[in-house]
């Protein structure tokens, strides 16, 4: 159920002007009852014999049974990937390798409605996001990296770029298909083969992706999908025949992985958590800045590593910004992810909901002031109302720890230096936002903020050409752009 502070039932919109449920039909998706592991170009029974249901977080309904891989399964997948690599994937003419990736991109575009619905069903994010953000970006990622496959010598002048071999990739549940494309596209473009472990709670679009591989006629073993939980991920990471490990997820697990590959010589990239500061100066275009704040933390229910979870607002405009923010939060619609009018969807899992609830309680206990707009939350499923804390001190848990939910903490600052100081005062360093009319200030802040991605007068913008990754405990390595190729290559 929702958080204790949620007021019940009263909607802010008069019944005279209600938004209709505008549900996207589920019929476009055909789900199997049960999925095996995708190894060597076909679905196979897991040696583990274990299956678990994947649950829709909006309704708690089981969608399909999914195999849980064990060490033996992972070993088979790695072997398949190695064979595919040795047998020719890395030797195919690069221009032909590119064509496979172009095919994947085009097929994702053609089937985007189907994938968007499944993504929302399995993960809980609003259909508007999966349709307008996740799918187009996923296709674009494949299109972009397809273009590099036969141009690698231009990306690395004077070096001979070669693939690494088998890449073991573990991805999170917040942008399941998009994270898959961020991992698979550059890996394949560089000539590697892949063993990918989707997140435990969101395996379905990865499994549907196997059908795209079939339609694109990608040779067997080039991409292998092993579903399962953390144990399967650990097996992928530590398998000795994996040359490269790529992980996106929590900082905690990232550190475990870094420990696990220590001394093995495996190449590693990590894309971990964040606690981004979204900084608003008094000359910012205010209404648009408020949109940016809202987009920064409530987009995808705040399940975003680069979410603007700390609002740093210049004291001189504090009252005005908070008033506008609270008003705007009141017009956010929380509800059925498949409803096209929904702004904020379901929390991805019970476990995540518990974590958010615990941290929010801690916030209240530490003395911050909580605000949640009146929200009608559905009976079943896992939900959390958009929340903002004011009177937050830098030392509170809600200002330090990543909540990964629709919870914003507000702090104030007086001068640019103070903003920089507070923004950088965190072990994380993934992203930051700066809102100001003044160009030189944008550049000065960008120069001083210790974060891998800086959004000025906008937030949560992604593009396959734009390198993404963090400083400090937000991880290392970049995904996207020319720079996203390097982690997958050996440069001679």
């Amino acid at each position: 159920m929702g958080s204790p502070a949620v007021k019940q039932d009263r909607s802010l919109v008069p019944s005279a002007f209600e938004y209709a449920p505008a549900p996207e039909s589920r019929d476009v998706v055909q789900l199997e009852k049960r999925y095996g592991l995708f190894i060597g170009g076909e679905f196979v029974e897991p040696r583990s014999g274990e299956f678990q249901p994947s649950i829709s977080p909006a309704t708690e309904e089981p969608l399909a049974d999914v195999a849980y891989a064990d060490a033996e399964d992972v070993a088979l997948a790695v072997t398949a990937a190695r064979e595919a690599f040795d047998d020719g994937w890395s030797d195919i003419a690069p221009a032909e390798r590119a064509k496979y990736l172009y095919r994947i991109a085009r097929i994702l575009q053609e089937r985007s409605r189907e994938f968007a619905v499944l993504e929302s069903l399995d993960g809980g994010k609003p259909i508007r996001e999966s349709r307008d953000v996740d799918l187009p970006l996923a296709a674009a990622h494949f299109f972009y990296y397809a273009g590099w496959a036969d141009k690698l010598e231009y990306a690395f002048p004077n070096r001979t770029p070669r693939p690494l071999g088998v890449a073991g990739q573990v991805i999170p549940w917040n942008f399941p298909l998009l994270m898959l494309s961020w991992k698979v596209a550059p890996a394949l473009a560089a000539g590697n083969t892949v063993v990918l472990k989707p997140a435990e709670t969101t395996p379905l679009t990865a499994l549907l992706f196997c059908d795209v591989l079939r339609q694109a006629e990608v040779p067997p073993g080039v991409v292998n999908i092993v579903t399962g939980d953390g144990r399967a991920g650990a097996e992928v990471v530590k398998h000795p025949d994996v040359d490269k490990v790529a992980f996106t997820g929590s900082t905690e697990v990232g550190k475990e992985i870094q420990r696990a590959v220590a001394g093995t010589g495996k190449k590693l990239t990590l894309e971990l958590g964040g606690k981004a500061a979204n900084i608003i100066f008094d000359d910012a275009p205010l209404d648009q800045a408020v949109e940016g704040i809202v987009n920064g933390i409530y987009f995808n229910q705040g399940h975003v590593c680069c979410a603007g979870s700390r609002l740093l607002v210049q004291e001189s405009i504090y009252e005005q910004v908070i008033a506008k923010l609270k008003r705007r939060m009141g017009t956010l619609r929380v509800g059925d992810p498949l409803d096209k009018n929904t702004d904020v969807g379901a929390i991805n899992s019970k476990a995540q909901l518990d974590r958010i609830t615990e941290l929010v309680a801690a916030g209240e206990e530490e003395g911050a002031e909580i605000f949640q707009p009146p929200c009608r939350l559905p009976e079943k499923g896992w939900w959390f109302a958009p929340t903002v804390f004011t009177n937050v001190a830098q030392s509170y848990r809600i200002a330090q720890e990543e909540i990964f939910g629709p919870v914003l903490s507000v702090l104030t600052f007086r001068t640019p230096d103070e903003a920089v100081e507070k923004a950088n005062n965190t072990p994380y360093g993934l992203s930051a936002g700066v809102w100001t009319e003044k160009g030189s200030r944008i550049l000065s802040m960008a120069q001083q903020l210790r974060a891998g991605v800086i959004w000025a007068n906008t937030y949560n913008r992604f593009d396959p050409g734009s390198p993404f990754g963090g400083y400090k405990e937000s991880g290392f390595g970049r995904e996207g752009g020319l720079h996203g190729l390097e982690p997958y290559m050996r440069l001679e």
Partner: protein, 263 residues
């Protein structure tokens, strides 16, 4: 016995297929092909100039998708092209050229541009931009892949093109224009003229509203054309053989921007 319906080979200007305003044609490759006049060329440059802002204003990703679509459409017409050129290998090469350049659209900025560390508190960056309207004289041979090798790099960066096709083997160029017309290429971005190079090239080289010219397909006196080009300081492009992002770069300007860094 069924009589086949023979194709009329016209010009491709502004997204449509008009005959030459002169009403003239010449017989080549067993067909009558439009004989473009200087007025047709004038119209083509005008169409290109009008189409340029929209094409240049599209995102690079979009342009890449359009070029890929050209490849898709060409692939679908392999047989027709193979018949015209007499070489499947040439058709393959042409299609693959489109695919290759399509992949460059959203990468040229990263490879050709830069952020430049200057000695002062300034952010300084350089971006490539399309130069505008580009004239291309296609080589006589190979009539298809030679043309594509010149055309694709000219438009991938956002330029609009007026192209003079092979004089003795123009049918492939006109058929390619049909492919362009069905590939979401906005009208006027590519304009294809068939006819006598001796008549058309000097007009193109001397045209004051053409920003750059690729004389690869000129067999005779290049020097005179280069002299004509000097009148409006046209960029005279001398791309070599093969494919390269530098072939695209030849048609791009570089803009450098400064902005102070401060509170």
């Amino acid at each position: 016995m069924r009589l086949p319906v023979k194709k009329t080979y016209k010009l491709y200007i502004g997204g449509s297929f008009p005959r030459s305003e002169s009403g003239r044609s010449y017989e080549v490759e067993g067909a009558n092909v439009a004989l473009a006049s200087r007025k047709d060329l004038r119209d083509a440059v005008r169409a290109a100039r009008e189409a340029f802002p929209k094409w240049a204003g599209m995102t690079a990703y979009n342009r890449g998708q359009v070029l890929y679509r050209v490849a898709e459409m060409m692939e679908g017409r392999r047989e027709q092209f193979a018949e015209l050129t007499g070489s499947e290998a040439e058709v393959n090469s042409a299609v693959d050229s489109w695919v290759w350049y399509a992949g460059w659209a959203d990468k040229l900025g990263q490879v050709l541009g830069s952020s430049n560390p200057v000695a002062g508190p300034y952010f300084n960056f350089t971006v490539p931009e399309p130069t505008g309207v580009v004239g291309v004289v296609a080589p006589e041979e190979p009539a298809l892949s030679g043309l594509v090798a010149r055309l694709a790099p000219a438009i991938v960066g956002g330029n609009a093109v007026v192209l003079i096709a092979s004089e003795h083997r123009p049918l492939a160029a006109v058929t390619l224009a049909e492919v362009l017309a069905t590939s979401d290429v906005p009208g006027g971005v590519v304009n294809v003229l068939t006819g006598r190079k001796a008549d058309l090239c000097p007009v193109l080289a001397g045209h004051m509203d053409v920003n750059a010219i690729d004389l690869a397909g000129v067999d005779g006196d290049r020097a005179e054309l280069e002299r004509l080009a000097a009148e409006n300081v046209k960029r005279v492009v001398r791309n070599g053989e093969g494919q390269s992002p530098w072939h695209a770069a030849a048609f791009l300007e570089l803009k450098t921007v400064w902005h102070p860094i401060g509170v």
